[in-house]
């Protein structure tokens, strides 16, 4: 069985390696400079740095480990790869407070002029519109849906460059999507009560795609040919498995995120209410 022998083969595409290494290096330089000045764990907690590192590690696992090879033969493995890109890596990366680390990666002079750059109207406009909740939601939903249409999906499996574009679309829009609910306090744009429905809404998009894959009675994608047979399952079973992975474990990932956001909301709410509800009543009227 040819396919099974590749389990320990790592892939090394320069573009992907660079794409992962450069931001990781940036982060590392930034954190190093920050901690050199302020002491380890100051300005950015150690746990944050570890989360970011875990995010980078999952990216490596998704894109460079044998999983990537298997993903070219099994649709279900490909789905696992995608779920890492949209559900696991982005929250970890954002939890690592990358913006803070990146800022410190710049030399002092550039760093001080950075705010001025960011004030340029076009950048402000772009940043604000991409992180507007409906926009981020729509972009991510569209990326997920369109790339699962037979035409684009087959093209990605057949052609490495298109595949890389697919993955950039997934990761990029997923970062936007999770940023909306996880951004640092000053930058949050979605009120705390709407974060739970926001996340659950996306799980429904995933469930719809997963359900259609699960229930299709013929293979929707031609590019895999018959490669699943080497793994002892039919192409159709492979597709059903892919659909189910998206639907059920994927759904639970969103659910866990929603539960965390819910607990957050409950805690935030009480203090707010006491501060806000001081209602002045003119008793003389009464």
């Amino acid at each position: 069985m040819h396919a099974l022998m590749q389990l320990d083969e790592w892939t090394f595409a320069p573009s992907i390696a660079i794409g992962i290494a450069v931001p990781a290096a940036f982060y590392a330089v930034g954190v190093a400079r920050l901690w050199r000045g302020a002491g380890i764990g100051h300005g950015l907690r150690v746990s944050r740095a570890l989360l970011f590192a875990a995010g980078v590690a999952t990216l490596v696992a998704a894109l460079m480990s044998p999983l990537d090879e298997i993903a070219d033969q099994l649709q279900s493995a490909h789905m696992v790869q995608h779920l890492i890109l949209i559900l696991i890596a982005p929250p970890l990366l954002i939890a690592g407070e990358p913006v803070r680390a990146f800022v410190w990666a710049f030399p002092r002079r550039l760093r001080t002029s950075l705010p001025r750059w960011l004030q340029i109207p076009f950048w402000r406009w772009l940043g604000l519109s991409l992180t507007a909740p409906p926009v981020a939601f729509a972009l991510h939903a569209i990326a997920l849906t369109v790339w699962h249409a037979p035409g684009p999906y087959d093209a990605a499996v057949r052609n490495e460059t298109i595949h890389a574009i697919e993955h950039v679309c997934f990761l990029g829009t997923a970062l936007l999507f999770w940023w909306v609910v996880m951004a640092p306090p000053g930058l949050r744009r979605l009120s705390v009560s709407l974060r739970v429905p926001y996340v659950i809404g996306m799980s429904m998009v995933g469930a719809a795609i997963g359900a259609l894959l699960t229930f299709a009675t013929s293979s929707l994608y031609a590019a895999y040919g018959n490669s699943a047979a080497a793994w002892g399952i039919t192409t159709l079973e492979d597709q059903q498995l892919a659909g189910l992975i998206m639907w059920i474990p994927g759904g639970f990932a969103y659910l866990i995120a929603a539960a965390a956001l819910f607990m957050n909301w409950m805690q935030a709410d009480e203090e707010r209410a006491d501060r806000a509800s001081a209602l002045r009543v003119r008793t003389e009227v009464a």
Binding site: G151, F215, D269, L279
Partner: protein, 832 residues
């Protein structure tokens, strides 16, 4: 008690403001949530009795082998109507009744957010119920089981009116459920008393809000399904017809996408009641409040994920079944959290063995038993053995009676004193509990055994030599004992209503806000709007809370029917709301809808069309603002007591919430339509679409027309924001003209097709989807037209244009739906 902290003349003044006109006619117009809640309760119990009579007839028939009390056809009608009555006409409405009555009292408001919609929701409920029951008059009651699987229910196999009553009746009922749910969501978002933060809400409120949100997303799946069924039957379409590319399984998918959440919808509020009532009789707060709230919400969400779990026996791939079995087991986690919270509350409390406590404790017991048999049906091989056996009937009743009926009866004992001002008899109460509890287990536990012995469900009789006779007799006896228990409850209700001991404000010494009013509460609920500072406003001293709620010293709001609008997040007082007065439009609208559905049932299209026009007219008349409302635009005056503006406008006002929720609900409706389209296409055996992708030459320009109409609508609404009334009028006229052009071109598009809707499953979905879109364009046009008329009458200003914003929002929504339709029906096939 201390209600007298507010002066008596003030109370009299408030009574005069809020009272419903006397007499039957006056009551028809009433919008008081307490009256509506009581009506809901009485009506739901009436359907419980009707369903109970049907059950009794079935059990008499099955008591001995080979009986002939009813014919097989009648037996089919009996179990179907029993299931439909219990699931749709009793289980949720009874919870809505409690919610309607209690929500404003628990939240510190004087009514629900949309009092007239509330009235509508009740009238539609009762008329839809009567619509379905009227099938008995012609001897053609629904007979396809409560989930009416196709192809059994297709026209070929069920030619009578039976299934049409079912399909149309449930579509009709869905309107009531949906508008009711939207009302709860808006009420929670906007009408909580200041300081009522979300983690101070009773768990019952959490339960109801969770199911209300679920309803907004679940009911459209059922509606789409029923519309397909009706279209297949009435017009010969092919959604479920395998001969023409349809899929019978599509019915099951859509039904359980709705049905699985529905099971949680009819139990979560009941579980919430338990979480609120148990602590009162344990004399301590609920253990793990936050986790119970989280468990409630996540159960509601999980309900949407695992619908396929009902379809084990349909031959779906085995591997997928193990995923769903696993997922179904996960639901045990939140349920487990709740069970531990209840047990811990009892354990750490000092139980007080009153009747409500008995019912709640009995519920906890049945919940665990039902959970175990549920886990068994979630395990696949077991399910194959037991599907469609009496084991399922046993499981179903343990779940539904255990988790719905027992808490509901307990809640009745608990809140009856608040609702009527009189206590129910304790002695009779305890008797009723034990009779119900023993009868229930006696009647329903042996059904498990019968299932294991191989007795199928839905059989009208059986042979003596199967050996099922003795157990069946036991089941019937148990069922009659159980029914006697319910009868005792009803006797208790009547006797206590007439001569029960006076209750006083808070007979159970309960902690929540509704117990701070008199029993029964005054029409205006609270003489002064309270300010909340803890989860247990009436237990603050005893629990040593740091905050102290202010129940009697708040604003009185005496200028007409008024209550406070607060912000959704932190319950900060934002405005004083003018509440709608009593009105005849809700009942009129409900009646005209009834006529519409009878028209569709009998296929008297002229009648349906006339009723459709009448319905549109009722809507417009309902929404037409009163003279007063126009004289007093939102924010024009300031309330002297609170310095808050009177009235509110904009997207976050009560009206804005309603429109956004309606749009969300309708968007879900279209999402299910498109999901069905893709489902059918992914299973299609032949080319889909049969004659290649549909031509773009008409629709692409037409899309531009529709987008242009959205631009002009947007321009119009920006105009009125700047107080430019000319721009408003010109923009609206342009949008209406463009919309009419769109519809005309769509007409050409329809006639240009050389296939008819009844040609194939593809043509059925093509015309149904585009047809529903066109219908929504028409509705949008009517809205714009009404707005235009109002614009010419000078109703709008920059400070007062919510109706414009809402109509324009709806119009944009219709256009966005078109883009989704265009993409799915016209573009996607080109990438197939």
């Amino acid at each position: 008690m201390a209600t007298n902290a507010v002066a008596v003349p003030v109370q009299e003044q408030l009574t005069e403001i809020w009272e419903t006109p006397p007499g039957v006619l006056g009551r028809l117009s009433s919008v008081d949530h307490k009256l509506i809640g009581k009506r809901y309760l009485v009506t739901a119990f009436a359907f419980l009795i009707a369903g109970g009579i049907e059950a009794a007839m079935m059990r008499m028939q099955l008591a001995r082998p080979g009986q002939t009390l009813v014919t097989p056809e009648q037996y089919n009608q009996l179990f179907t109507m029993h299931g439909v009555s219990m699931i749709f006409l009793y289980a949720l409405p009874v919870l809505s009744g409690f919610s309607n009555y209690l929500w404003p009292l628990m939240l510190g408001a004087r009514d629900m957010a949309y009092p007239r919609v509330n009235a509508l929701s009740y009238w539609v409920f009762v008329l839809a119920g009567l619509f379905i029951y009227s099938s008995f008059l012609v001897g053609q009651a629904p007979d396809g089981g409560w989930f009416a699987y196709t192809p059994l229910t297709s026209h070929d196999y069920s030619p009578g009116l039976n299934i049409d009553f079912y399909a149309l009746g449930l579509i009709f009922l869905g309107i009531s459920t949906t508008v009711g749910a939207i009302n709860f969501i808006a009420t929670l978002a906007k009408l909580r008393a200041p300081g009522m933060s979300i983690n101070r809400l009773p768990i019952f409120v959490w339960g109801t809000i969770t199911v209300s949100v679920s309803i907004v997303f679940a009911i459209p799946a059922l509606t789409v399904d029923l519309i397909f069924l009706y279209f297949d039957r009435a017009f010969g379409l092919h959604f479920f017809d395998p001969g023409a590319g349809g899929q019978p399984l599509l019915w099951q998918h859509l039904f359980w996408i709705f049905g699985h959440p529905w099971v949680y919808i009819i139990v979560l509020p009941a579980m919430g009641m338990v979480s609120d009532i148990l602590p009162v009789f344990c004399r301590r707060p609920l253990v793990g409040y936050t986790y119970v709230a989280l468990a409630t919400v996540s159960t509601g969400i999980i309900g949407f994920g695992v619908w396929v779990h009902h379809m084990f026996a349909t031959g779906l791939p085995l591997r997928s079944m193990s995923f769903f079995a696993g997922a179904s087991l996960v639901i045990a986690i939140p349920s487990g959290v709740a069970v531990f919270a209840w047990l811990a509350t009892i354990f750490y409390g000092r139980p007080w063995f009153k009747t409500p406590f008995l019912f709640m404790a009995g519920f906890v017991f049945l919940f665990v038993v039902g959970g175990v048999s549920g886990v068994m049906t979630a395990a696949i091989p077991f399910d194959w053995q037991l599907t469609d056996s009496y084991f399922v009937v046993a499981h179903l009743h343990y779940v539904l009676i255990g988790i719905n009926v027992f808490p509901v009866i307990g809640a009745l004992y608990f809140w009856f004193p608040k609702i009527t001002g009189r206590m129910m008899s304790e002695q009779l109460g305890k008797w009723s509990f034990w009779v119900m509890f023993v009868g229930f287990n006696l009647g329903f536990f042996p059904m498990h055994v019968l299932g294991l012995l191989g007795m199928p469900r839905r059989i009208y009789t059986y042979q003596a030599d199967f050996g099922w006779g003795p157990l069946n007799l036991l089941v019937t006896i148990g069922a009659l004992v159980f029914a006697t228990g319910i009868l005792l409850v009803l006797i208790n209700v009547i006797v206590s209503y007439v001569g029960g001991a006076p209750a006083g404000d808070n007979p159970w010494d309960a902690p929540t806000l509704e117990w701070s009013t008199t029993s029964p509460p005054p029409v205006y609920n609270f003489a002064a709007i309270p300010t909340i500072r803890s989860r247990h406003p009436l237990w603050e001293d005893r629990l040593g809370e740091t905050g102290r709620s202010e129940i009697y010293g708040g604003p009185l709001l005496l200028d007409g029917r008024e209550t406070l609008a607060t912000s959704p997040l932190d319950a900060r007082a934002r405005a004083v709301l003018r509440m709608p007065t009593d009105s005849y439009w809700p009942v009129t609208l409900a009646v005209s809808l009834t006529v519409f559905f009878y028209g569709a049932l009998l296929q008297w299209w002229w009648l349906a069309a006339a009723a459709g026009v009448a319905t549109a007219f009722c809507c417009a008349a309902w929404l037409w603002p009163s003279e007063d409302a126009r004289q007093l635009p939102p924010g024009a005056v300031t309330n002297a007591e609170t310095d808050l503006p009177v009235g509110q406008t904009g997207q976050t006002s009560v009206g804005g919430w309603g429109m956004s929720l309606l749009v969300l609900n309708e968007a879900t409706f279209f999402a299910y339509l498109l999901f069905s389209y893709f489902y059918l296409s992914s299973l299609a055996q032949h080319a889909w679409p049969p004659e290649g992708p549909p031509a773009l030459k008409l629709v692409l320009p037409n899309t531009l027309v529709l987008i242009a109409s959205s631009v002009t609508a947007w321009w119009a609404s920006r105009g009125i924001e700047a107080d430019n009334r000319n721009r408003l009028r010109i923009g609206l006229i342009s949008s209406i003209v463009l919309g009419a052009v769109f519809l005309t071109i769509q007409g050409f598009e329809f006639t240009s097709k050389d296939f008819r809707p009844n040609a194939s499953a593809y043509s059925s979905s093509f015309f149904t989807i585009t047809g529903f879109h066109a219908a929504h364009v028409l509705i949008g046009l009517l809205m714009l037209a009404v707005i235009l008329i109002r614009a010419f009458r000078g109703h709008f200003r920059s400070s007062n244009h919510l109706a414009v914003t809402n109509a324009v929002l709806y119009w944009h929504f219709v256009d966005v739906v078109w883009l989704a339709v265009l993409f799915s029906l016209y573009i996607a096939p080109r990438f197939g």
